[in-house]
């Protein structure tokens, strides 16, 4: 492919987050069962590649599907126990999934057949050479997995399974009473979700190239998929994609921006440290103020958002011409987010002459105040 290597790697990372966030959201976003355990399934994927491809000499292409299946088996096993218990809903489910990530990490650390605490180097792995050089191979693999994952997320959303999951999200007891096979639906969605999480993790292992327990099972994977999906909106397959795009481009630019000198060099502010502050703040603001995420608002204010985006990019081009294209994109995207942030009630009052909004976006106040 004729792209510069930097854009291929940047694109791969973006596609990786598309796959991770979509796979998480197709279960949690639709069903409302909040999983903090994405790291466990991602980790199973990463370590399957580590063990099969690096230690046993399997080709990467053969290890990836096995990783997906193993991850799905873990998900189904967990679901089989957890979904049978009425009590393990809501926040208790969230903590159990968090615990599963710790347990998988502990097992990998203890077992010398998996990791044994020393990490695994993946530079000897047999890569699929017919897919081109390393960057373009990663990009192609990432693209295939992201497309499959997003396709699955969109298909589930518009299928009977999706409707069942949304009814579980709204009220599980009522859904069960109306004949939704809640246990089967949750198992299916969780199985598919964890399958793709493992698949994507298996490819990502090659990108990390040296895998350690601490990095693979860190809090970053669950944190990022949660923030991305909450930001974009969890009830539509596009939500995680919007969230992943915003978070990934923003954090990438902040990481590369280096230090910012303030007051004539008297105070240096490391922008990469700001990253986590921004991520945390975004999560808080979105949960408290924009419960549905950006996607429903983007669908309703698409022209305003597009105009703000174009305006932002053009302004960035005029003021700082030597900015990289990704930085210009970030400026435009932040301008668009600003347009989306004001709550619908405020916007409909302001633009009341153009007719009432089609559907009220937020819940009625009595539901929100409970």
């Amino acid at each position: 492919m004729g792209f510069p290597i930097f854009y291929l790697l940047f694109g791969y990372s973006l596609l990786f987050w598309f796959a991770q966030a979509s796979s998480w959201n197709m279960f949690t976003g639709y069903s409302g069962y909040f999983s903090f355990g994405q790291g466990a399934f991602f980790g199973v994927g990463v370590y399957t590649t580590g063990v099969l491809a690096a230690k046993r000499g399997w080709p990467l292409i053969a290890a990836v599907p096995v990783a997906g299946i193993l991850s799905a088996l873990l998900g189904l096993g967990l679901g089989f126990v957890v979904f049978r218990l009425r009590k393990l809903q809501g926040e208790i489910f969230a903590l159990v999934t968090l615990a599963v990530a710790f347990v998988v990490a502990a097992i990998a650390r203890v077992s010398s057949k998996i990791d044994g605490g020393s990490g695994i180097a993946l530079n000897e792995v047999k890569l699929p050479d017919f897919l081109g050089s390393f960057p373009s191979m990663m990009f192609r693999l990432g693209l295939i997995i992201a497309v499959l994952t997003v396709f699955a997320a969109a298909t589930i959303q518009h299928s009977r399974l999706g409707w069942g999951l949304f009814s579980i999200n709204d009220d599980e007891a009522v859904a069960e009473g109306l004949g939704v096979p809640t246990f089967r639906h949750k198992m299916m969605a969780f199985g598919i979700s964890t399958f793709f999480a493992g698949l994507s993790g298996a490819v990502h292992a090659v990108q990390i190239s040296y895998i350690t327990i601490e990095d693979v099972f860190s809090i970053r994977i669950p944190l990022f998929v949660i923030v991305m999906s909450v930001l974009g909106g969890m009830r539509h397959w596009m939500g995680p994609l919007v969230g992943a795009t915003i978070i990934h481009t923003l954090t990438d630019r902040l990481n590369r921006a280096g230090d910012l000198d303030l007051f004539g060099g008297n105070l240096t502010l490391s922008l990469s440290h700001l990253n986590d502050v921004i991520i945390g703040l975004l999560l808080i603001v979105m949960v408290l103020a924009v419960k549905d995420g950006l996607w429903p608002r983007l669908a309703r204010r698409r022209w305003a958002a597009l105009a703000a985006f174009v305006l932002g990019v053009v302004a960035a081009r005029i003021w700082i011409p030597d900015m990289s294209p990704i930085a210009k994109f970030v400026v435009g995207e932040l301008a668009a987010v600003l347009v989306l942030l004001p709550p619908p009630a405020l916007v409909s009052r302001w633009s009341s002459r153009s007719g009432p909004p089609n559907t009220p976006a937020d819940q009625p106040p009595e539901a929100a105040s409970v």
Binding site: L85, E91, L98, F102, V110, L223, G280, L281
Partner: protein, 290 residues
């Protein structure tokens, strides 16, 4: 045999520290219906505060409690005021405080870097000292944390069981709307209780700074200790937290002596999962209690 005896003693003592760390989370979750991950940050920041005072100002590590706890109480109370203001649900609280947790962790790593920070032994004579009774060693930081945990636990228990404030807290925990109808000022009780919970977290932080090296990633590791203790002890139960802390401490210590230190978290989580499956209300509570 001596090995196991020593493991059980260390487990019991460290269990006191675990109980102190968990008490705030347990009270907040059980009574205020807020799963506050920010308490993990409070423990960490209190530890760093204690480290800073002891290492650079030469304070005695025990004395740093005087400075660290009031700050934590104010911070915890302000945070609770904010939660009352935005009227937050149990589940949103988990996400919002997760955001706060990430922010605090990033602040800690930009101020103190990701390196290990330990109070130098000249400023902290307690770290290496221990009380020896009949061939068993009682490490001073753990022993004092254990005694403090018992004292604080009993004080909180007394406060909740015997005072008017405690009555209001228990009323809130049982039925928030009804308590409000009977004139319990929810906001005031919640803010006071959050301040109390933050104080216990800060005390735990001081003992941690005294006994080990600090680094920002430590707070995440505590998830694996505190949540099992909270669930095992029963939400909002003070004595339950003490009992569960000691149980987890002993199990982890025995597991690490028997199979090796990496098995300690595994054993802890087996207990957590088993508790959730068979007795989700906790080992140390009767079904109907708070």
């Amino acid at each position: 045999m001596t090995l196991y005896g020593q493991a059980i003693i260390s487990g019991v003592l460290i269990g006191g520290l675990y109980a102190m760390m968990s008490l705030g989370v347990s009270l907040s979750w059980g009574v205020l219906k807020i799963i506050n991950l920010a308490y993990f940050s409070f423990i960490l920041l209190a530890g760093y505060g204690s480290y800073e005072l002891a290492a650079t100002q030469g304070w005695d590590p025990f004395v740093t409690v005087v400075a660290v706890v009031p700050v934590a109480v104010v911070a915890g109370a302000l945070l609770q005021l904010f939660f009352e203001k935005v009227n937050i649900g149990e589940f949103e609280s988990l996400l919002v405080t997760f955001g706060l947790f990430i922010m605090f962790e990033s602040v800690a790593s930009s101020v103190w870097s990701a390196d290990f920070r330990r109070i130098p032994s000249t400023a902290n004579p307690y770290a290496s000292s221990s009380l020896k009774i009949g061939g068993f060693a009682f490490a001073t930081p753990q022993l004092s944390a254990f005694i403090t945990a018992i004292v604080v636990g009993l004080l909180v228990k007394f406060l909740l069981d015997r005072t008017y404030f405690g009555k209001a807290v228990r009323a809130l925990a049982q039925d928030r709307e009804m308590a409000r109808a009977f004139g319990v000022d929810h906001r005031r009780v919640a803010v006071l209780l959050a301040g109390l919970a933050s104080a216990t977290a800060a005390i735990a932080g001081v003992f941690i700074a005294m006994s080990q090296a600090l680094f920002p990633g430590l707070a995440v590791e505590w998830f694996g200790i505190v949540f099992p203790v909270v669930i095992l002890g029963g939400l909002g139960s003070t004595l339950g937290a003490l009992g569960a802390g000691v149980t987890i401490g002993v199990v982890a210590a025995v597991a690490s002596v028997t199979w090796g230190p990496s098995y300690a978290p595994l054993a802890t989580f087996v207990i957590l999962i088993a508790t959730l499956l068979f007795r989700p209300e906790g080992l140390f509570t009767r079904k109907a209690s708070v």
